[in-house]
C-alpha cells in the first residue's frame, strides 16, 4: 500500500515539475502576477511529493517489504535497521530517486529563501529547474522505477552488498549528491540570465551563495568518499583516479573556478560571460558525473549494472540539457559586455590565472577519463588510463596554482605589484625552501616539492589572515577582536586556502608511506617504520549478519607498548562474501594501518602493515576547506544586505570594496 502511494507521489511530482517548467518559463512573458507567484509554490509542492515518495521507499526498506524489487534485491531480513535505511540509496534506482529529491529541494530552497530575487528572474530560475527535474523524473518513472513490484515476493531479500554495509553509505552519497545537484541552481541562474539577457553585479551576488553551498557539500562529499575508500579497500589508497572519482573532481574544479570568478562579477562586473559559461559547464559536468557512470559508458568500481535503454535515455537527456544551454549561450553571450577594467597584475588577474589553471586541469582530467571509451568506440581497442597519467599530467599543472595561491589574496583590486605582496610573505618562501632542502636531503624529491608547496600555501593563508587582523601591529586583544569583526567572506577565503594547503601536506606526506606484506604465526613479529608489530592471537568473532576472524596485534616501540590493533576478516553468510575490515589508529599526524588478509592451514595469518605519515591531513584539509566555505556563506552581505539591481550602470571602478 505504502509503496503504491510512493509511486503515485512520484508521478504527481512529475506532473508538478512539468507545470513548474511551463509556468516558470512563460509566466514572466505574460507579466501575470499570479503566474509569477505560482512557480515557488509549485517548487515547494514538488519537493513535498518527492519527499513523500522517498519516505515511502525508506518505509518499504525499514519494514522489509519484499514485494518491492528494490528492497528484495538490496536488503534482507537480517540486515541491521541502519543499513535497511541507507540501502535505499545504495543502488541505481533508489539513488536516482534521492538525486531527484535533492534537485527538488534546490528548487524549494529558491522558492522559500529567494524572496529578494526579482520575481521574473526567480520564476525563470524555477522554470529551468522544473525542466531539468521533469526530464529526470520522467527517466526515474519510466525506465528506472524504484517502486517496481515483484510477485511472489522472496522470503528473504538478497541483502545489501557487504562493501556498502558501512556508515560511509549513510554520509557519502547524500552529501555528494547535494553538491552535484546544488550546481543546478547556478546553472538555472545562468540560463535564466541568458534568457533575460542581463548579467550584473547583483547576479553575481545571488549566484555566489548557492554555488558556495554546493561547493561546500561537494568538497565534503569527495572528502568522505576518499576517506571511505581509504579504510574500506584495505591498502590505504585514498585516490585512485578512477573514472567515477574523476567525474566528481571535474565539477569540483570548475565549481572552484566559478566561486572565484563570481567574486569578480560581484565586485568588478568583469568575467560575466565566462562565469555564465562556467556555471553551465559545472552543472553539465555534474550531470555527466552522475550519469556517465550509470550509462555503462565508463568502466569503474562504482558502476551500477544498468540496462542499455537506460543509457540511451540518459545520453539523450544529457544532450538536451547541455546542448540546449550551450546553444542559448551562443546566441545570447555576445550581448553581455564586461565593464570593469584592470591590469594583469591585480586581484582580478590572479583570479583569472586561478580560473585558467583550474580549467586546464579539468580539461586534462576530462581527456584522461573520456579517452578510453572513445578509443573503444572508434578503434575497438580496450585500454585504460591509469594513475601515472594523472600524476604526470596534473601535478605539474597544480604547481603554478599553488605558487599563485599565496600571493593572489595579497594583491589589491584593479592594479597591483608583485613586490609588496611578496614582501608580506617572504618568510613563507623561506620556510618552503627550508622544508624543501631538508626533505630533499633525506632523498625524497617529490615529497620535498609537495611539502614545500604545502608550507608555502599554509603560511600564505595564515599571513593573509594575520594581515587582516593587523597582528603584532595592534595589541593582541584588539587583533583577536578584529577576527570577529572582519567580513566573514575573508576569513572563509583564508580558511579555504589553508585547508587546501593542509590537504597538499597530507598528499605529499603519503608519498613517504612505508608498508610490508607478511605472514605471521602467533608470537612472531615484524619491524616496520620504527615499530615492532607482533601477532598475539587469531580468534573468532560474531557480527550482526557476519562471522569474523579477528587478529590481535600489539605494536611496540623500543619495547614499550604503543597500541593494540584488531583487524578482522568478515564472512557475510547471506551473500557468501568475504570482506576485510582494517584496523586504523591515528595520532593526528600519522596513521597506523593493519589489514588481516588471509589465513593459511598452519595457523598463520597474512598481514599488510602500513605507516602513513600525514594521512589524516588529507581529509582534515578537505573539512577545513568546507568549513571555510560555510563561514564565507554566513557573510553579512548574504545574510543582511539584500542585493538590489542598479538602475544605472555604475561608473567603472566605483564598485571596489
Amino acid at each position: 500500500m505504502i509503496p503504491t502511494l510512493g509511486h503515485f507521489a512520484l508521478a504527481l511530482a512529475l506532473a508538478i515539475a512539468a507545470a513548474q517548467a511551463v509556468i516558470g518559463l512563460f509566466g514572466p512573458m505574460l507579466r501575470d502576477r499570479i503566474l509569477l507567484r505560482a512557480a515557488p509554490a509549485l517548487a515547494i509542492a514538488q519537493f513535498l511529493m518527492l519527499g513523500a515518495a522517498f519516505a515511502a521507499l525508506v518505509w518499504a526498506g525499514v519494514v522489509s517489504d519484499f514485494t518491492v524489487r528494490n528492497v528484495a534485491e538490496f536488503s534482507s531480513s537480517t540486515t541491521p535497521l541502519f543499513y535497511r535505511i541507507t540501502g535505499t540509496w545504495g543502488n541505481h534506482d533508489g539513488s536516482m530517486l534521492l538525486w531527484c529529491l535533492i534537485l527538488s529541494l534546490c528548487g524549494a530552497t529558491v522558492g522559500v529563501f529567494g524572496t529578494n530575487i526579482p520575481s521574473s528572474l526567480r520564476s525563470r530560475v524555477l522554470g529551468v529547474l522544473g525542466l531539468v527535474s521533469g526530464g529526470f523524473l520522467l527517466f526515474t518513472l519510466t525506465v528506472s522505477d524504484p517502486f517496481r513490484r515483484i510477485w511472489p515476493p522472496p522470503l528473504h531479500g538478497a541483502g545489501v552488498n557487504p562493501i556498502l554495509q558501512d556508515p560511509g553509505l549513510a554520509v557519502h552519497p547524500p552529501i555528494l549528491y547535494t553538491g552535484y545537484v546544488g550546481f543546478s541552481i547556478a546553472f538555472a541562474f545562468a540560463v535564466a540570465a541568458l534568457i533575460e539577457g542581463r548579467v550584473d553585479a547583483a547576479w553575481g551576488r545571488w549566484v555566489r551563495p548557492w554555488t558556495l553551498v554546493s561547493w561546500v557539500f561537494l568538497t565534503a562529499g569527495i572528502c568522505f568518499g576518499s576517506l571511505w575508500s581509504y579504510y574500506t579497500l584495505g591498502w590505504g589508497g585514498f585516490w585512485f583516479w578512477d573514472p567515477v572519482e574523476n567525474v566528481a573532481l571535474l565539477p569540483w574544479l570548475t565549481g572552484t573556478a566559478l566561486i572565484h570568478s563570481a567574486i569578480v562579477v560581484e565586485k568588478r562586473e568583469a568575467l560575466k560571460t565566462w562565469s555564465v559559461l562556467l556555471a553551465i559547464a559545472t552543472f553539465s559536468l555534474s550531470l555527466c558525473g552522475t550519469f556517465l557512470v550509470r550509462s555503462g559508458l565508463l568502466n569503474s568500481v562504482h558502476a551500477f549494472a544498468a540496462s542499455p535503454n537506460q543509457g540511451l535515455f540518459i545520453l539523450v537527456l544529457l544532450a538536451l540539457t547541455i546542448g540546449g544551454s550551450l546553444l542559448l549561450f551562443a546566441f545570447r553571450a555576445p550581448g553581455l559586455a564586461a565593464t570593469g577594467v584592470f591590469a594583469p597584475v591585480s586581484r582580478e588577474g590572479a583570479l583569472i590565472l586561478n580560473n585558467i589553471f583550474l580549467c586546464v586541469i579539468a580539461a586534462v582530467v576530462f581527456t584522461g577519463t573520456m579517452y578510453p571509451p572513445f578509443v573503444d568506440l572508434l578503434f575497438g581497442l580496450q585500454l585504460s588510463v591509469g594513475a601515472p597519467f594523472y600524476d604526470q599530467a596534473v601535478l605539474p599543472l597544480t604547481a603554478p596554482l599553488i605558487l599563485a595561491m599565496a600571493v593572489g589574496p595579497m594583491l589589491p583590486w584593479k592594479r597591483g605589484a608583485i613586490g609588496p605582496a611578496l614582501a608580506k610573505i617572504w618568510y613563507g618562501a623561506v620556510l618552503a625552501l627550508i622544508v624543501f632542502a631538508f626533505v630533499l636531503f633525506r632523498g625524497h624529491a617529490i615529497a620535498a616539492l609537495g611539502l614545500a608547496g604545502a608550507a608555502w600555501v599554509i603560511v600564505g593563508a595564515l599571513v593573509d589572515l594575520a594581515e587582516r587582523v593587523r597582528l603584532f601591529r595592534v595589541p593582541p586583544g584588539q587583533s583577536f577582536a578584529r577576527l570577529f569583526t572582519l567580513p566573514r567572506a575573508q576569513v572563509g577565503a583564508a580558511l579555504g586556502h589553508l585547508g587546501f594547503g593542509v590537504t597538499v601536506l597530507g598528499i605529499a606526506g603519503m608519498t613517504l608511506r612505508v608498508h610490508t606484506v607478511t605472514v605471521l604465526h602467533p608470537g612472531q613479529s615484524v619491524d616496520l617504520g620504527g615499530y615492532r608489530w607482533t601477532l598475539d592471537r587469531i580468534s573468532p568473532a560474531q557480527g550482526p549478519n557476519y562471522q569474523a576472524r579477528r587478529a590481535t596485534i600489539t605494536v611496540t616501540r623500543h619495547g614499550r607498548l604503543v597500541m593494540t590493533m584488531r583487524p578482522e576478516r568478515r564472512f557475510f553468510t547471506a551473500q557468501k562474501v568475504k570482506t576485510v575490515a582494517a584496523a586504523i589508529r591515528t595520532n593526528g599526524v600519522r596513521n597506523m594501518f593493519a589489514t588481516f588478509a588471509g589465513e593459511d592451514n598452519s595457523g598463520g595469518g597474512e598481514f599488510r602493515f602500513n605507516v602513513h605519515p600525514f594521512a589524516p591531513e588529507i581529509w582534515l584539509g578537505g573539512l577545513i576547506m568546507a568549513l571555510g566555505g560555510a563561514i564565507s556563506l554566513s557573510d553579512r552581505r548574504f545574510r543582511v544586505g539584500a542585493p538590489v539591481r542598479s538602475k544605472l550602470r555604475k561608473p567603472a571602478g566605483s564598485a571596489t570594496v
Binding site: N161, I163, L233, G234, W235, G296, N299, V301, A303, A305, A338, V341, F342, A343, P344, I352, L353, I356, F357, V360, I361, A363, V364, T367, G368, L381, Q382, L383, S384, V385, G386, P388, F389, Y390, Q392, A393, P396, L397, K414, R415, V517, T518, V519, V526, R569, Q575, K576, V577, K578, T579, V580, T595, A597, G598, D600, G604, E606, R608
Partner: protein, 173 residues
C-alpha cells in the same frame, strides 16, 4: 590601466600557455602510461614483449589457485582463462577480499621471458559476486563463451573445462 584589447591579448596568451603546456604534458604522459587490456587468447596471438605492462583479464580458472609463502611473503599462483586459453599468473601480495575461483578479475602486470607466466603487480576483483568487469565481459563475448543478452554468466565451476558443452550442461543443471 591598459586598454581592453591589450588585456584580452594578455588573457589569450595566458590561456594559450596553459593549454599548450597541458597538451604537452598529456602527450608525454600518454606515451608512458597507457595500458592495454588483453584476454588470454589475445596474449597468445599478440605475444606482448616481456616487461611490457598490460592488463590481463578473464575468469579465475577453478582448481588452479595455489597459495603459499615465499621469503615470509604470501604469494598466489592461478590461471586466468577466457574459456579458450589459460595463462598462468603469479602474484605476490594480498589478494582482494572478493577474489575467488570462477570470479572475473583484471590483473595488471607483465609477461616473463619466454612467455611462461604473467607476473601481476595488482589484482582487481572489487565487485560483487554477480558482477563481471566490463573488459572481461567483452573478452568472453569475443571468445563466444558468453553473451549477456542470453542470461547471467555461466556457472563458475564450469570454467575449469574449456568445452562449450560442459558450460552449457552446467548452467542448465
Amino acid at each position: 590601466m591598459m586598454s581592453r584589447k591589450k588585456r584580452r591579448l594578455w588573457i589569450v596568451v595566458a590561456c594559450g600557455i596553459g593549454l599548450s603546456s597541458a597538451v604537452a604534458l598529456m602527450l608525454v604522459a600518454f606515451r608512458s602510461s597507457l595500458s592495454f587490456f588483453l584476454s588470454p587468447q589475445q596474449v597468445l596471438a599478440k605475444r606482448p614483449a616481456p616487461g611490457m605492462v598490460f592488463r590481463l583479464g578473464g575468469i579465475v580458472q577453478a582448481g588452479t589457485v595455489v597459495m603459499g609463502t615465499r621469503d615470509g611473503k604470501p604469494y598466489t599462483t592461478f590461471r586466468i582463462t577466457d574459456g579458450q586459453t589459460a595463462i598462468p599468473v603469479v602474484f605476490t601480495g594480498v589478494l582482494p577480499g572478493l577474489f575467488r575461483q570462477g570470479q572475473g578479475v583484471v590483473t595488471i602486470g607483465a609477461m616473463t621471458r619466454g612467455d611462461r607466466e604473467f607476473v601481476a603487480s595488482t589484482v582487481l576483483a572489487k565487485h560483487g559476486a554477480s558482477y563481471m568487469p566490463r573488459d572481461v565481459e567483452m573478452a568472453l563475448r569475443k571468445a563466444g563463451k558468453w553473451n549477456p543478452k542470453f542470461g547471467p554468466p555461466p556457472n563458475a565451476a564450469a570454467w575449469d573445462d574449456k568445452s562449450p558443452r560442459a558450460i552449457e550442461a552446467d548452467s542448465k543443471g
